[in-house]
């Protein structure tokens, strides 16, 4: 390339006009996409304060277009004036909410425990299971990721009925654990690979057993990775709909199933629907904002070498 071109490029970057144009373009694109990401959330939140007329006329801005009202939240029994009264809807909602919390926390914890142990074993020791070596065992675990839920759903429906786990939280926890286990193993393998083996060798020389070395030396270092894997697993379990819709009916129904079954006899009550949707997405929205660092860490594990 000629020297002239170089100078041209450099001057182009430094010229104020093109700098401003590129800034305008970049921030314009950023703001545009931020709008696309946030508007549906804004719409959900505001709709929960609208009455029927405001919904059907497509009013957008509170206090300007329409007068906000606790309508949606009252129908859930969560508005300021109804919160101390008895409400069957609220009891139902809390039951579903607790089901979601228990299943997603339970499944994520179980997956973290058995997934971390397996990932640690696979990164540190050589196994031979009949003719399967480490790589094959890893592949076996990770290949579960491509298994679509629909393949397992119907056999599990039949098996769970035989075993008496249909419509129980334990049943859902077991399935969700299976669902997130490959992801947990993927993340934790990456984590343990980044911890130098010398640390454990030193611990073993100092007289710790291999499990002692794992719990006292390796676990504290790998803790951020575990948190990342846990949160990612939480997100997936909380949002899971397919298994929950097929395998639960009255006792173990989770929030997404409750959201999906909200069509009344007179069509959809948009305000209560919106309030319910807000309540369903709020916990994860908070987690997403507060623990974004860990989420990103979990998602990028193993992606960049």
């Amino acid at each position: 390339m000629s020297v002239q071109t170089t100078e041209y490029t450099v001057s182009e970057i430094r010229s104020p006009a093109s700098f401003i144009t590129s800034r305008v373009f970049i921030y314009g694109a950023l703001v545009f996409w931020a709008f696309i990401c946030l508007f549906p959330i804004y719409w959900t939140l505001t709709t929960s304060f609208k009455s029927a007329v405001d919904v059907t006329q497509g009013h957008l801005i509170p206090f300007v277009d329409f007068q906000p009202d606790w309508k949606g939240w009252r129908s859930l029994g969560l508005s300021p004036d109804s919160i101390f009264e008895t409400s069957t809807v609220r009891d139902e909602f809390f039951k579903r909410f607790m089901n979601s919390v228990i299943t997603s926390v339970g499944a994520s914890s179980l997956a973290i425990v058995i997934g971390s142990l397996a990932a640690y074993g696979l990164t540190r020791y050589r196994y031979k299971f009949a003719w399967f070596k480490n790589e094959d065992i890893s592949f076996f675990f990770l290949s579960q990721l491509i298994l679509p839920p629909v393949v397992l759903a119907l056999p599990f429906l039949v098996l769970y009925r035989e075993v008496g786990l249909l419509d129980t939280r334990i049943g859902l926890i077991l399935l969700y654990t299976l669902m997130v286990l490959p992801i947990v193993i993927w993340i934790m393998r990456d984590q343990f690979n980044s911890i130098p083996v010398e640390l454990e060798e030193a611990a073993l020389v100092d007289g710790l057993s291999i499990w002692g070395a794992f719990f006292r030396i390796v676990m504290p270092i790998a803790l951020p990775g575990m948190v990342a894997a846990f949160i990612l697993a939480m997100v997936l379990c909380w949002n899971e709909y397919f298994f929950a819709a097929l395998l639960t009916s009255t006792d173990a129904k989770t929030i997404p199933v409750m959201v999906a079954s909200q069509t009344g006899s007179q069509g959809i009550n948009w305000w209560s629907m919106a309030a319910l949707a807000t309540a369903a997405i709020a916990p994860l929205a908070v987690i997403g904002i507060a623990l974004e660092r860990y989420l990103i860490m979990g998602m990028t594990a193993g992606a960049v070498k």
Binding site: P40, Y241, A303
Partner: protein, 373 residues
């Protein structure tokens, strides 16, 4: 089975050789494992006899067999440590996950292949009846299943568009901007939200024909009749858009990590050599980003192949099955017609198809990355 796990003694060097374990302890270990295996087999046998009404002693459900399996797993672990010392302790790391996955995947999948060969409708009284390959022939002649498979091809192709957008967003976030963290959190938001809630609030309300803001906007832009879910092609595109909205952040974050891991020197060198921004991107950034891109796209395709909940809640496959994914089609086959046998056959056929497809995809991607670099 698992007692064939034999870690070779590369590391650590000070492992206790298994011949130092006293023979009494070894015998105890074998006894524990043998007793547990016998117990498990006995439980299964009693239960089979009870269920086939040969015997009157047994349990109402098969749940005791599950407990027996768990106890057998525990006994196996204890036996490993007793008989093989430190080698057994190492096997203990892998054993829980392995036993769990085998029990939860292998058995149901085999059982699924059996169900697939039966005529079994939960709403009919005749119960389960073996009918060989009848379901398979019915599947081959089913135009709705073919249509669902064709839709999956379209949905998977949409990943490429998502990839382009995600790459653009990653580049934006990687530029010299203020409030980077704010934009990152905001862009990540859609991934966190429950697809079902999003389907309701976006698919059914925001894109509502009469009052939804998206429809109003489309009218302002000159689209006379903004019905997002009544024309087959537009309905498919709407589903793709909804799904893309939730999953673009996933690819974006992976690509952003790739961009941030790229060394500044290479970009500097390209600029010194006189490449403009366009050339730098195509000749330096893009090739270097190829491995990350391939990982992101493949993971995304794997998730895409499971696409179901958005379609189930927004269109239930409509209009006329036009938006059905395989999963949502099978879901309705079960929910509306209780056709367990046929539905399972469809699911198993799908499993075979995607295993073949993903294997090919991984091979192809491997070769592709190697050829370009």
């Amino acid at each position: 089975m698992a007692d064939q796990i034999l870690p070779t003694k590369d590391w650590p060097a000070n492992a206790v050789p298994s011949d130092l374990i006293p023979p009494g302890r070894k015998r105890l270990g074998w006894a524990v494992m043998a007793a547990a295996t016998l117990g498990l087999l006995a439980t299964i046998l009693v239960q089979i006899l009870y269920k086939s009404e040969v015997d009157t002693i047994g349990f109402e459900t098969w749940r005791p067999v599950v407990y027996a399996y768990v106890l057998w797993g525990v006994a196996l672990g204890i036996g490993q440590v007793l008989t093989r010392g430190e080698d057994g302790q190492r096997a203990l790391f892998l054993l829980p996950a392995l036993l769990f996955t085998i029990a939860m995947v292998i058995f149901p999948t085999l059982f699924g292949f059996y169900i697939a060969l039966t005529d079994w409708n939960l709403s009919s009284f005749s119960g389960r009846r073996f009918n060989g390959l009848d379901n398979f022939w019915q599947m081959l002649a089913d135009p709705y299943y073919r249509n669902a498979l064709f839709n999956m091809v379209l949905y998977v192709l949409a990943v490429l568009v998502e990839y382009v957008i995600a790459f653009g967003l990653a580049l934006l976030l990687n530029a010299q901007i203020r409030a980077r963290k704010f934009f990152r959190v905001v862009f990540l938001m859609p991934l966190m939200l429950s697809p079902v809630a999003v389907s309701w609030m976006v698919g059914k309300s925001l894109m509502e024909y009469r009052f939804g803001p998206a429809a109003t906007l489309a009218r302002h832009l000159g689209w006379e009749n903004p019905a997002f879910f009544s024309d087959p092609i537009i309905a498919r595109i709407s589903i793709m858009v909804l799904d893309a909205w939730t999953f673009i952040p996933f690819m974006m974050i992976m690509l952003l990590a790739g961009l941030q891991a790229m060394s500044r020197e290479i970009l500097e060198a390209a600029r010194v050599d006189g490449a403009n921004a366009w050339q730098t991107f195509w000749q330096v950034t893009f090739p270097l980003m190829l491995p990350v891109s391939v990982t992101a796209v493949i993971l995304r395709i794997i998730f895409k192949l499971k696409l179901a909940d958005i379609i189930i809640t927004v269109t239930s496959g409509g209009p006329g099955g036009a938006t059905d994914s395989v999963s949502s089609f099978i879901y309705r086959e079960y929910r509306d017609r209780s056709n367990v046998g046929y539905g399972t056959m469809l699911a198993m056929a799908y499993l075979v198809i995607i295993v073949v497809f993903v294997t090919w995809l991984l091979k192809f991607a491997n070769r592709f990355v190697r050829n370009v670099n």
